[in-house]
Symmetry: C2
Subunit: 189 residues, 2 copies
DNA sequence: GTCTATACGAAGATAGAC
DNA sequence: GTCTATCTTCGTATAGAC
């Protein structure tokens, strides 16, 4: 991997992106937050801010994907869902509803950079795959497993945005409850 | 209400926000896109960019809310859902996956302005109320109607983000299909 | 790998004329 | 209501020394 300060910059960018978004976060902020040296920005990221964003999305994407896979190892889909919802709930409450998903933050702003867009798309696809495999293992047909996995990711991401807007975890909890029903239906039907 | 050019600035801001986000859109862009005169910015929006954002969210929120209510007048919840999904699909395809939801765009970036956050929260609440009322009318219990309405809004908004990221309408279509099942279940159970 | 210095444009915002 | 001019800060990015 890269050096220490490069990795630290990526981690800081993820934290800042999820609160202020991509355009709302400058190199200045990333340097201050990470404690990395100013002069090393374009040494580590010759492609500038777009490269930092791409790497940040990849980092956050595989980090969250790893959470899902870890949860999926010792639990049925409903348990994975509950744990995943709990993870987001903790982030929302712990940040006083200031932090959301860094991948979503970048995805809604990246309209003109193909590499960034591709990275966000792959992150979502990763999470979906991980969730779909647990659904298949518990009896859902492959096609249904994929659709319900997409529903879960989409609904939770959407709920996180709504929670920040309404400064409440209610949307996330409501969505989690209804998604459990959908998971149950997919297993038997 | 307000003058002609003010209204035009708000409309342009909505179009630009949904592609580039809040921080990614400058007054410069809004002026150019709307054709409004430069000198009238702070006449119409004494509160500056934050005030423009708040009014833009309110405008987009009530515009989309009106779409839902209009659809709800002559259809059951499933028909409303299908039409709503079709509306987003058209926007995504028509913009080559560059445009998303302006309310979401602002919601993920507004971390420090209470008025903006409140406006995004009210927009989501409006949409949810409109959808929940159709669910109640078709047999769902009030509590379930509210939860399923939240699920629909959250899942569709999340799916729109995923569609942009993957440059495909598949997530939206998959989510729409599964949401129909959830609506059906809420009507009978 | 990291530094300083700096270029250059764009950002939001204000003042005062018309 | 709209104009121009201007202020200040900040943005990304580069050059060249160490």
């Amino acid at each position: 991997m890269g050096s220490e300060s490069k990795q630290q910059m990526v981690k800081s960018a993820a934290v800042l992106f999820r609160e202020r978004g991509y355009s709302g976060t400058g190199f200045r902020d990333v340097i201050e937050h990470s404690g990395a040296p100013r002069g090393s920005i374009y040494h580590h990221f010759p492609g500038g801010k777009a490269e930092l964003a791409t790497e940040t999305v990849r980092y956050a994407g595989s980090y969250i994907g790893a959470q899902i896979e870890r949860l999926a190892q010792d639990g049925d889909p409903a348990a994975v869902l509950r744990a995943f919802v709990g993870w987001w709930r903790k982030l929302l409450e712990g940040s006083d509803f200031r932090a959301g998903c860094p991948v979503v933050a970048v995805a809604v702003e990246a309209h003109d950079d193909d590499a960034i867009v591709a990275a966000t798309g792959e992150a979502f696809a990763d999470w979906e795959r991980a969730l779909a495999s647990t659904l298949r293992r518990s009896g859902a047909t492959p096609a249904r497993a994929r659709r319900v996995a997409t529903l879960c990711i989409a609904a939770i991401e959407g709920a996180v945005v709504m929670c920040r807007a309404q400064r409440s975890t209610q949307p996330l909890l409501d969505v989690g409850r209804e998604l459990e029903q959908a998971i149950e239906a997919a297993q038997s039907g």
